[in-house]
């Protein structure tokens, strides 16, 4: 249990999340993957806070903010998904949503 290992773990989680975003076509599936990415990032914070920081409390608080923001993001994203689902013919397929061109 070293810093390097923890960082590697967080990188792996991050890449798994990316893989999910890249391969999923459903919006909800992509959201799940995004959660994994955020999780990896949180582990990164915690690892540094535990192994390095002179003040681990501050390091612990940052993931809490990340969680809060991701909760807000999820709430909106899922609301959008529900609104889109109401439209007929919408299968929540990322490839059908190209015209948003975000």
């Amino acid at each position: 249990m070293t810093l390097a290992n923890s960082l590697l773990l967080s990188s792996i989680l991050f890449c798994i999340g990316i893989y999910g975003v890249l391969t999923r076509r459903q919006l909800i599936g992509m959201l799940l993957s995004i959660e994994i990415i955020l999780n990896g990032a949180n582990i990164n914070f915690i690892a540094f806070a535990h192994f390095r920081a002179a003040d681990p409390t501050a390091g612990a608080i940052f993931p809490i903010f990340v969680m809060a923001i991701s909760a807000a993001e999820m709430a909106l994203a899922l609301a959008i998904i529900i609104a889109m689902h109401r439209q007929k013919n919408s299968k929540l397929d990322i490839q059908q949503l190209r015209r948003l061109n975000g």
Partner: protein, 191 residues
């Protein structure tokens, strides 16, 4: 002892995450995500971050994933045939991109001189529940009261926004307004 637990937890975490991104059934994926979050929470406990671990369980598992599961149940027509099977080219493309990114990160980690491996002795208390709580809400120079309040405002906004976006239109669109194309609805209503 700690090392063993760490590696087991890490293995479980990676496995669960892989399942989350790879299973076809979204409900199964969500359940794997719960497992992955539990493993993460355990890892946080191991790293002496009790508050974060608790928050992880309560916010992520108790809040977000449950919400997701509900949404999946509402929208994904479980039992129907999977409409979007993954294809091998897709997997290859995603996999290669991810692996290359991982390689980059790994190499960066290796090439970078990490600070000495021995942990610096923590000068402060480990992040106990009390410490985090006081720290979060204290209004002196080191506290996080203002960000906390801002986050609470953000959450409130998101809440209202979500309600507005997801609300069913009480009456059909007024005559003369052209019907909005399916894939533009979200953008229009959330604005």
């Amino acid at each position: 002892m700690e090392n063993t637990i760490f590696y087991w937890l890490a293995g479980a975490l990676i496995l669960m995450s892989l399942l989350t991104v790879s299973v076809q059934n979204l409900l199964h994926a969500a359940i794997s995500l719960i497992g992955s979050f539990f493993a993460t929470a355990a890892l946080y406990l191991l790293l002496q971050m009790e508050f974060v671990a608790l928050a992880q369980i309560m916010i992520y598992i108790g809040g977000i994933v449950v919400f997701m599961v509900i949404t999946i149940l509402l929208t994904a027509q479980l039992g129907a045939k999977n409409l979007f099977p993954k294809t091998w080219p897709q997997r290859l493309w995603g996999g290669s991109v991810c692996l290359s990114l991982l390689a980059v990160m790994w190499l960066t980690l290796q090439s970078n001189d990490l600070p000495p491996a021995t942990p610096i002795a923590p000068t402060a208390e480990p992040a106990s529940l009390t410490a985090v709580g006081f720290r979060l809400l204290s209004a002196d120079g080191t506290g996080f009261l203002v960000p906390f309040e801002i986050i609470s405002l953000l959450l409130l906004t998101a809440l209202i926004g979500a309600v507005v976006v997801a609300r069913r239109d009480p009456k059909p669109a007024a005559a003369g307004v052209p019907p909005v194309p399916a894939d533009q609805v979200s953008g229009k209503e959330s604005s």
